[in-house]
């Protein structure tokens, strides 16, 4: 059983330092599954292109999910695709994160009403960490979403949160 699976009941300085250290590693090196779905994928590509440069945040696309930390659901998830998305997500090693990018991935977007073949929100199949709104979101918005995710990771802790 690895350290990450363990939950400590009490907080102390060592744990919080270790926490910070591990979290820092995780948040500054989020490798992304090289995977795009629809129009948002183009903006995702633009984000990794020279103007916005995902690499600044340590995000690089990896071809196989086995070596990835974050999956950016960029675009419309259809029913035909949903099972595949789920499997891709499952095949990533833990700890892993999900960014849902764009209206479609958030809740079906413009297709929520008549889209007989569109999954209304990717959170119906996989747990989403950050929702980035927009159709498509500007690259900056995606970067902001990523920073929000980093913020979230930074606040993760091995200490079991006391049930208040």
């Amino acid at each position: 059983m690895g350290l990450l699976d363990r939950e400590f009941t009490e907080d102390n300085i060592v744990i919080s330092k270790v926490d910070d250290f591990l979290n820092w590693g995780r948040l500054s090196s989020l490798w992304q599954v090289g995977f795009g779905l629809a129009c948002c994928a183009i903006e995702m590509m633009a984000t990794s292109a020279s103007h916005y440069d995902f690499d600044r945040f340590g995000v690089i696309p990896r071809p196989t999910p086995r070596q990835c930390d974050v999956i950016i659901i960029s675009g419309t998830v259809t029913f035909k695709m949903a099972t595949r998305v789920k499997r891709l997500y499952e095949q990533m090693p833990d700890p892993k994160y999900v960014i849902s990018m764009g209206s479609c991935a958030n809740c079906g977007g413009p297709y929520w009403e008549h889209g007989y073949h569109v999954l209304k929100g990717v959170d119906r199949v996989i747990p989403v960490d950050v929702y980035v709104p927009g159709c498509p979101p500007r690259p900056e918005a995606l970067l902001e979403g990523l920073m929000k995710l980093q913020e979230k990771i930074r606040n993760e802790s091995l200490v079991k949160k006391a049930i208040v």
Binding site: R56, C107, W112, P133, G134, P139, E140
Partner: protein
């Protein structure tokens, strides 16, 4: 044989040409915008998050009707006579209490169609794009300025008025006029 050496030559020379170009670019300053530190000014027509200036909204439902995605939900209540709702900035008189004005930004496709028909130009797109959320519910924006109690009160007021009217009508034995403003919400 000639072909053989030409291939070698072409291979080497084109590779070197390519390498020259990439080497040159090694020293070309990067075009990257360092986003969180530097933000490029957006052009004025930029289309991002919607905003509704509720002071100006007359609750005419135009925007909701034109939206292809149906992500605007408006519910209005007629004012009772004597209530002053104020005027919009371009001089129209408001006659309806807007008791619900929700835009589900998560669904919106940023097409700007809702902006054009608005008679008071109170719904418009801003340049705010940094509003990612950890929960999807937070993306459902509510623009109503009235508090919950006020809404309830307005509804009551109107119901009372209705009742009175109905009573009057019943008294006058006239056919009831359907309320044109009471639009059923569609989601």
């Amino acid at each position: 044989m000639q072909e053989y050496f030409r291939n070698i030559w072409q291979g080497l020379s084109t590779v070197l040409t390519g390498m020259k170009i990439t080497f040159k670019h090694l020293f070309v300053p990067a075009v990257t915008i360092q986003y969180p530190d530097v933000k490029v000014p957006l052009p004025e027509r930029v289309r991002n998050r919607l905003y509704v200036n509720m002071d100006d909204c007359i609750g005419c439902d135009q925007c909701a009707r034109v939206c292809p995605v149906n992500c605007i939900t408006i519910e209005t209540v007629k004012s009772v006579p004597g209530e002053d709702l104020g005027k919009t900035s371009n001089g129209k008189k408001k006659a309806l209490w807007v008791t619900q004005f929700e835009i589900d930004i998560a669904k919106c496709c940023y097409c700007q169609l809702c902006v054009f028909p608005c008679p008071t130009e109170c719904i418009y797109m801003t340049d705010v794009y940094e509003f990612s959320e950890l929960e999807r519910e937070n993306l459902n924006f509510n623009f109503v300025t009235l508090s919950k109690e006020e809404i309830l009160q307005k509804k009551e007021n109107y119901a009372k008025l209705e009742a009175e009217k109905a009573a009057q009508k019943a008294a006058a034995a006239k056919p009831a006029v359907a309320n044109p403003e009471q639009k059923p919400t569609d989601n």
